[in-house]
């Protein structure tokens, strides 16, 4: 087993949870990142696009603040650029078709005890595991 980051994981996760709870409490919205991002570009009212765009900007600012305090976070990309682009297309297409990603289904949907989100979360984890197995261990 690799050495997991327990402290960073739990505290980082809790901060994500606090952000999701506050967004629901103040704005009545689910902190599903794929849906928020999609709504910036789709046919929405100006007010919808603005808060979504600001939230996305906030995510980038949050990572920038982290860099200021602790130094740049490491991003060890595991594949080449063409595969990364295919991965991006799949992630965008799949999250739009499946109405959510790790945050919308995983963090928020499970918290609402949504059976759809449980099914989606189980599905994307299983397919993620299978993909990594095929790529890493069968070298496809």
């Amino acid at each position: 087993m690799a050495e997991a980051n327990f402290i960073g994981g739990i505290i980082g996760g809790a901060l994500i949870g606090v952000a999701a709870v506050l967004l629901l409490l103040f704005n009545g919205r689910i902190a599903g990142i794929s849906g928020i991002l999609d709504g910036v570009f789709s046919d929405n009212s100006f007010a919808e696009r603005i808060w979504r765009g600001v939230f996305v900007g906030g995510i980038i600012c949050g990572a920038a603040f982290y860099s200021l305090i602790f130094g740049a976070p490491s991003i060890q990309i595991q594949t080449n650029t063409p595969i990364l682009i295919v991965a991006g297309l799949f992630v965008g297409f799949g999250t739009r078709l499946g109405s959510g990603c790790t945050s919308g289904h995983g963090v928020c949907g499970l918290a609402r005890r949504s059976p759809r989100s449980l099914a989606a979360t189980a599905t994307f984890i299983v397919f993620g595991v299978l993909t990594v197995f095929l790529v890493r261990h069968l070298s496809l």
Partner: protein
């Protein structure tokens, strides 16, 4: 005020993703690699988040409305339809290939990494394609 709330919550979210190292695809692929050197970090992040959202959502949804709007905006679909499962499967494949899901990819833009920029552009294009596909 809603825009300020979006800015603060977005910032917290991005900071949390960075602190939990979800911004690093090596951690994410390590979690998905159950046949290799399995990395539990993603499970701790998920657990930390759910420890807050499970009780937090239950408390907030007792209210009739959020503080700054007239109503809650919650998903209304309840059926296990094909788009949900097929979409989640396609997302899972992309997640396994790149090690990025939407939140961490956006947070990663802060580092200026060209790989992350390519990924995010492709992801937005994928969402757009799916939008055309479903309409």
């Amino acid at each position: 005020m809603q825009i300020l709330a979006a800015l603060i919550t977005g910032t917290l979210f991005g900071f949390g993703l960075s602190l939990g190292e979800m911004i690093n695809p090596a951690r994410v692929i390590g979690f998905l690699d159950i046949a290799g050197r399995w990395d539990a970090t993603l499970m701790f992040v998920m657990g930390g988040a759910l420890a807050i959202t499970l009780p937090g959502y239950a408390l907030i949804l007792r209210r009739s409305r959020p503080l700054l709007d007239r109503q809650f905006f919650l998903p209304t679909k309840s059926a296990f339809d094909r788009p949900l499962i097929v979409g989640a499967a396609i997302f899972g494949i992309g997640w396994g290939l790149g090690g990025f899901c939407p939140g961490p990819a956006l947070a990663g833009l802060a580092t200026g990494s060209s790989g992350v920029i390519f990924f995010v552009i492709a992801m937005i294009a994928g969402q757009w394609l799916a939008g055309r596909f479903t309409n």
